[in-house]
């Protein structure tokens, strides 16, 4: 029997009983749609996180005090023990490395910021002019912190858009004075709205020169040093340079943690990929359920079509012909279900995309291939038993009306 004829025959069977066909298509498409939708949510989450890390800046190396073996946690969350502080002099010493383009020491604290009677608690970052380039920040108005010797500071600050809005209530903030604790700072710039990065919402922060922050929080200890390597290839060199320089300065002790963006990203990437696979696998269970449904319906069909199968054998169909017909039928149903499921999954993805525009929902390529493939495979696999039963039917008994 020719393959085209086998398919045609199966197609007639599928069309011949629309109720049964619809039922199987529904089950199959739910399975495929579930795999596609769930894995696209997982993939969306992964891309979201990866993009967020990307906004940290290019070729970024983060130095934090304390030795921690975990490189996988977010830098904003990691609290290492600090046997010895990381100081501004440590940071400036790093400039000896040729692999480093620029660096920005960072002190973080919470400050009570007020303008007249308006006050607000915000995160206050102490840093240098180079922070802007490293973090690829943009200004809405004015300038970033002035460059110059980081040991001395001018009483200036840069504020986030939301802070400007709340403290100055629509008035022009540029050039005005504000107080943090009992110190006065002049606003020299307002940050452009940029969203979340490094654990802070840049709309809600105040940035002051490093020396001012040291005085404000009465500490010499740096929270982080952000280092930008000269190129992607130099990241590893920068990392080992940093470790060498700081060990030398800290009496031979390795008491800092150096995180490269690549390592963090790779870890997150791996975790989220595994998660996507896991939930995709869970959704695939519904494919197996659909496969079992196909098997049941096929078994019923073998019983109902005994007469027809007996006839086909009497007309010269071999066992192989009969099996091929059942496989073709199952494959057709699975393909139809898979196509419907892919469409439904795409639709679900679009709906989610509308609801959460910031997360890039897209099904991973492997899901788009694996889901229909699994559907067809399970369908054919689960129709092995019915097909064998049909092929083994005794034609004499199948043809008799008893």
């Amino acid at each position: 029997m020719r393959s085209a004829d086998t398919l045609e025959f199966a197609w007639r069977v599928v069309r011949g009983s629309p109720g049964r066909t619809l039922l199987i298509l529904l089950a199959m498409s739910i399975g495929v749609a579930a795999v596609v939708a769930v894995s696209s949510i997982g993939e969306g989450a992964r891309l979201y996180v990866v993009n967020q890390f990307g906004s940290l800046g290019t070729h970024l190396v983060i130095v934090l005090p304390g030795r921690s073996e975990t490189a996988g946690a977010m830098p904003g969350v990691l609290i290492g023990k600090t046997p010895r502080d990381l100081t501004l002099d440590d940071a400036l010493a790093l400039k000896r490395s040729h692999a480093i383009r620029r660096l920005a020491p960072l002190i973080v604290g919470a400050g009570d910021v007020h303008v007249g009677a308006r006050r607000r608690e915000t995160p206050v970052l102490g840093s240098t002019a180079e922070l802007m380039a490293i973090r690829s920040m943009a200004m809405a108005q004015g300038q970033f912190l002035p460059s110059g010797d980081p040991r001395h500071s001018q009483p200036v600050c840069v504020i986030g858009a939301k802070v400007a809005d709340e403290l100055f209530a629509g008035r022009r903030a540029l050039g005005e004075w504000l107080r943090i604790g009992d110190r006065r700072f002049r606003v020299v710039g307002v940050l452009a709205s940029q969203g979340q990065s490094l654990g802070f919402n840049t709309d809600e922060i105040v940035i002051v020169p490093l020396a001012a922050a040291q005085a404000l929080f009465n500490t010499e200890a740096l929270f982080r040093v952000l280092v930008e390597a000269k190129s992607r290839e130099q990241i590893a060199i920068a990392k080992s340079d940093i470790e060498d320089i700081l060990r030398e300065r800290h009496d031979g002790k390795r008491d800092v943690t150096v995180i490269t963006q690549d390592a963090v990203l790779a870890t997150f990437d791996r975790i989220l990929r595994a998660l996507t696979l896991a939930v995709g696998g869970l959704a695939a269970i519904s494919l197996a359920v659909a496969g079992i449904l196909i098997m049941n319906v096929m078994l019923i069909s073998v019983t109902q079509r005994r007469g027809e199968i007996g006839l086909l054998k009497a007309l010269g169909a071999t066992g192989g012909n009969i099996r091929a017909m059942f496989f073709a039928e199952a494959a057709l149903l699975a393909l139809g279900g898979a196509a419907l499921g892919l469409a439904a999954g795409k639709l679900g993805q679009l709906v989610f995309g509308q609801l959460y525009p910031s997360i890039p929902f897209t099904p991973p390529w492997w899901a788009v291939i694996a889901a229909p493939l699994t559907a067809v495979l399970t369908a054919v696999l689960f129709s092995v038993a019915p097909a064998r039963r049909a092929a083994r039917l005794d034609p004499v008994r199948a043809l008799s009306k008893r």
Binding site: M1, R2, D5, F9, R12, V13, R15, G16, G307, E308, L311, L312, K313, A314, L315, G316, A317, T318, G319, G320, N321, P395, V396, L399, K401
Partner: protein
């Protein structure tokens, strides 16, 4: 040429062994017209199924055109059946979702004959059995007589040497039944071997050679 020697067929029903055929020995020459008669349960349908290779004998030997077909496997049996034997049944056994034309084409489809060749043969068969007008009709839109004509055309589509008909008129009124017999007899006139199982004496009497069976044995073999 069909040559059966010492054919036994034993069915097991629970603990009991039922002998449907007891040592049937029979030669049928090419082009013979033969009727098989007898009360129900006498084994005539079992014999027909054995001749048609739908069933295997428990003992004995079956030669078809000089070839021993007793011990062929299922797929080989299917192929021999496809090439050499056409079946006509009491209940027509047409596939309800296929048109008359598609039903006639079915054995050719199963044999893997190319669509173009199929189309030509189908056109010839439709013309030969007066079914041109009905080719696009489904079985439920056809009368009993027309259904049986379609079934006969289907049985003939692979050009087999042997046509086996099991109660071909059993589901038809007298007039239509005679009509259908006339169509079947045309096959015989064209040189084919025709075996008809019936319990209608009038139908059985039309054959040149008449066998009677009782309790699994051939008790008489008349010719004229």
């Amino acid at each position: 040429m069909i040559r059966l020697s010492g054919i036994e067929r034993v069915f097991r029903v629970g603990d009991e062994a039922v002998h449907a055929l007891r040592g049937a020995t029979l030669d049928i020459n090419d082009g013979e017209y033969l009727s098989l008669m007898g009360p129900s349960g006498s084994g005539k349908s079992t014999l027909l199924n054995l001749i048609g290779l739908l069933d295997r004998p428990s003992a004995g030997r079956y030669e078809l055109d000089g070839r021993d077909v007793t011990d062929l496997d299922d797929d080989e049996l299917s192929r021999v059946r496809r090439e050499h034997i056409g079946f006509v049944f009491q209940f027509f056994h047409l596939v309800p979702r296929l048109t008359a034309g598609e039903n006639i084409e079915l054995p050719m489809v199963l044999a893997g004959i190319a669509p173009e060749e199929r189309r030509q043969r189908l056109a010839r068969l439709l013309a030969e059995y007066g079914l041109q007008e009905r080719a696009k009709h489904r079985p439920d839109q056809l009368s009993g007589g027309q259904c049986q004509r379609v079934a006969i055309a289907r049985a003939m589509s692979m050009g087999p040497g042997v046509i086996l008909a099991d109660e071909p008129t059993g589901n038809l009124d007298r007039h239509t039944g005679q009509d259908v017999m006339a169509v079947l007899e045309r096959v015989h006139e064209a040189g084919g071997t025709l075996v008809v199982v019936t319990h209608d004496g009038e139908i059985g009497a039309r054959a040149r050679r008449r066998l009677r069976m009782i309790d699994g044995e051939i008790v008489s073999d008349e010719r004229n």
